[in-house]
Amino acid sequence: MNPAPPLLSVRDVHKKFGDVEVLKGVSFDVRRGEVICIIGPSGSGKSTILRCINALVPIDSGSILVDGQEVNDPKLDKLALRRKVGMVFQQYNLFPHKTALQNVMMAPIHVLKQDKAEVEARAYRLMKKVRLEGKEQSYPGELSGGQQQRVAIARSLAMNPEIILFDEVTAALDPETVKEVLVTIRELAEDGMTCVLVTHEMGFAREVGDHIYFTDRGVIVEHGAPKEFFAQAQDPRTRQFLDQIL
């Protein structure tokens, strides 16, 4: 049997900001429908990895293939890449001057030039999917953090991405609203959406993740399936991190 090639393939990626080497040879694969979780201390380069996958930050060397398309290519079609790769941020980053529904509709209409009526119908469906029916006309400032984050997820879904990158999306939320966002992400995972999750929610990672990666200072220290990873991580750096956080 010949397994399908991974949807996302990160190979030996290096990245410097000035003199500081933030990524020192990072490699991992994500298959279609898989959920991988990246955990690690603050400053270890997790956000930078996600930004590189989305070409928000250029890499110095290595290779990132998204659905066979090389991201580290000067002739990269960024529009095509960003259609495929959605991103959700810690601070939601909704557009405050637009309603929730408009936030969801903007990119498909203005960037993908899709039919407005069709996009609107899809936006209503997505609002329902993230359990925000009735909040379509609310402005971000009128929504709670958890609600805003779910709008951000809907906004990302509106582009019909193949893979979504989540960068500590519950880190800025009140404990009560963390759960509603995690429920939404779990439902996406169950629907078969490919997800890369940077998270500090270990319980969630263990439950939803197919694979866990632990990063420290720009390298992947170790990785494994959730059960084995949490039960028998070997590296002292991983152990120390898990002891602190669990």
Binding site: L56, G86, F89, F95, P96, H97, G141
Partner: protein, 275 residues
């Protein structure tokens, strides 16, 4: 328990341009009444016509001058705003060279005295320009307007730059991750959020321009202040008429600028709560 005094000290209030308030108006009105009263008393002794009647008689002419001031201020504001927005955008352009040029122009025109810019415009601009085969005359008032539009441009550029840079970087990043181009991000996402922040300081700027238009009298444009001095001369240059005439002009400017100032304060408050 030790309390950190640094944290408890309130942050210094940011500097704000002074805004006309009711007391200014009251003060002006009172001054005018006193001046008119005093002049009436003196005039009556010398059997001159009433000061109020004199003011009334010249009002149509003075108003013509005042309308001219307003026209100059509006036109200068329009020209300066368009150029200022471009210059402000230039200061956040991807090209470093463009950014530097825009920054220099902004600083230069922002820190030059308005009267100096006015003189430069009056004496450096030709009295007519030829565009293609058409000759466009540049009368003095138009040159003065261009002179005023220069500081408007520089201040607007600074307002635009400040507002753009006050928008969190996450907005750019979110837009980019949704495949918005830089230009589209600017026009659809960043600038609409800037309008609220730009409007109050921009309206303040307008009040300043309106009051500055009287400088045009120095370079021979027949705006209100020029007319006031001509009226004064026509009335025989009587000293007791000086205060009523100039007070009258002051009141006109106050009545025009005061509502703008109130609206600015109102908008500032409203936007502060909303954002």
């Amino acid at each position: 328990m030790k309390v950190l005094p640094v944290i408890l000290r309130p942050a210094p209030a940011p500097w704000r341009a002074p805004v006309l308030d009711r007391r200014h108006g009251l003060f002006l009105a009172l001054g005018l009444v006193l001046a008119v009263g005093a002049a009436e008393a003196q005039g009556a002794a010398a059997a001159h016509p009433s000061v109020l009647a004199t003011l009334w008689r010249w009002t149509p002419l003075l108003m013509e001058g005042f309308v001219f001031n307003i026209a100059i201020s509006l036109l200068a504001m329009a020209i300066g705003t368009v150029m200022g927005v471009l210059l402000g955008l230039g200061q956040v352009a991807p090209s470093a060279a463009l950014r530097r040029v825009a920054w220099f122009l902004t600083q230069f025109f922002r820190n030059a005295p308005w009267l100096v810019l006015l003189f430069f415009a009056m004496f450096l601009l030709p009295f007519e320009v030829r565009v293609g085969g058409v000759t466009i005359p540049l009368p003095g008032w138009l040159k003065a307007t261009i002179g005023f539009s220069l500081p408007v441009m520089a201040n607007t550029a600074e307002i635009v730059r400040g507002a753009i840079q006050s928008i969190p970087f996450g907005q750019w990043e979110a837009a980019e991750s949704l495949a918005f181009s830089r230009r589209r991000t600017l026009w659809m996402i960043i600038l609409p959020q800037c309008v609220k922040r730009m409007l109050p300081p921009w309206m303040n700027l307008y009040s300043l321009v309106t009051m500055a238009t009287v400088l045009a009298s120095v370079v021979g444009v027949t705006e209100m202040l020029t007319l006031v001095s001509e009226v004064h001369a026509a009335e025989g240059g009587r000293a007791e008429l000086l205060a009523p005439l100039y007070g009258y002009a002051l009141i006109c400017f106050f009545l025009y600028c005061y509502p703008i100032g109130r609206l600015t304060v109102h908008l500032e408050r409203r936007f502060q709560v909303r954002i």
